[in-house]
C-alpha cells in the first residue's frame, strides 16, 4: 500500500477571505506578528500497489480532475 498526501492551496493573487478571518482571529488571541494566513485543504490517500511513481501519476490525474480547481488552486503531491 502507498500512502500519499495532497495539499491544495489557493494560488497567489486569489483573495482568501477565510485566511484573512483566521489571521484576524489569531491577532485577537494575542499572537502578534502574524503577517499573513492562507488556508487550504489536505487529503490523505491510501492506494493499493507499491509503485510510487505510478501512484504519483495517478494522484496527479486525480488532482487535475477533481481534488483541485486549477482555476484558483495549486496542488502538491507527496508520497509518504
Amino acid at each position: 500500500m502507498i500512502k500519499a498526501r495532497v495539499t491544495v492551496t489557493l494560488k497567489n493573487g486569489v483573495l482568501d477571505p477565510q485566511g484573512k478571518a483566521i489571521e484576524g482571529a489569531l491577532g485577537t488571541l494575542g499572537f502578534d506578528g502574524v503577517e499573513q494566513v492562507r488556508q487550504g485543504k489536505v487529503f490523505d490517500l491510501e492506494l493499493a500497489g507499491t509503485n510510487a511513481s505510478e501512484a504519483e501519476q495517478q494522484i496527479t490525474a486525480m488532482c487535475e480532475k477533481l481534488l483541485a480547481n486549477t482555476v484558483i488552486e495549486n496542488y502538491a503531491v507527496e508520497i509518504l
Binding site: L15, P17, Q18, V71, I72
Partner: protein, 240 residues
Amino acid sequence: MRYKAADPPDSASGEASIMKSAVLLLPGLNRDRDMIAALTKISGNPPLTVWQTETEIPDVDLIVIPGGFSYGDYLRCGAIAARMPVLDAVRKKAAQGVRILGVCNGFQILLEAGLLPGALMRNASLRFVCREVELQVANAQTAFTSHYQAGQIIRCPVAHHDGNYFTEGETLKRMEDGNQIVFRYANGSNPNGSIHDIAGVINREGNVLGMMPHPENLIEDAHGGDDGRPLFSAALGMVA
C-alpha cells in the same frame, strides 16, 4: 424520478410556446421545484426532469440546472455534481447549441464542469447572503436576455455562500472584450465581492449562461415582481 409541478400554467402564455425544457435533478439541489414552477407558468409546458445518472437528455431547447447544495457542497460547491454522468450529456447538448442555464449552485456546477470560465469562491464577507439585489443587464443581445433593454436595471433575489466570482486577468479581459459578462450587480449591491461586480456570464458561443441570482423567484406578482420573467420568455423563444 419525475413529478408534476403543482402550479398550473398561466393561461395567457400557455398556447404559443413550442419550446421544450428540462430541469436536472441531483441530490442536494433544492430550488428545482421553484424552477419547474417558473418554467411551467411561463411556457405553459411542464419541463422534463432528468436524474443525475442519465447519460442521455431528451430533445429539448433549454436545459436548466437549478440551485441548492448538491452533494452538500462537499469538496467545493458543485464539484462532485459536475462529475456525474448527466453532465457529460449536458456537455454534448451544449456543443450542439442547446441553451443551458445554471442558477446559483447550477452556475457553480457549470463552472466546475468546465462549461464556463472562472470559479466561485466564498463570499468576501464570509456570510451567507439572502436578499434582493439590483442587476444591470450588461449584455441584452444573448438568447437569454433579448427581452431586456441593454443597461436595464432589474431586481433579483440572491441566496448563497459562495458567489464570489473570480477569474485571472487575461481570461477576464477576454470575457469583457467578448461581451461575456451578462449581468452585473448594480448600484453598490454586490453581495459577495465578485470581481467586476459579475453576477452572470455566458460562454463564447452564447448558449450557456450561469448566474448566481435567482430569476425564477421573481416571476409574478405573488413574488413581489416579475423582473425574472423576461429571462425565461427569451430563453424559451417566446414572443417578447
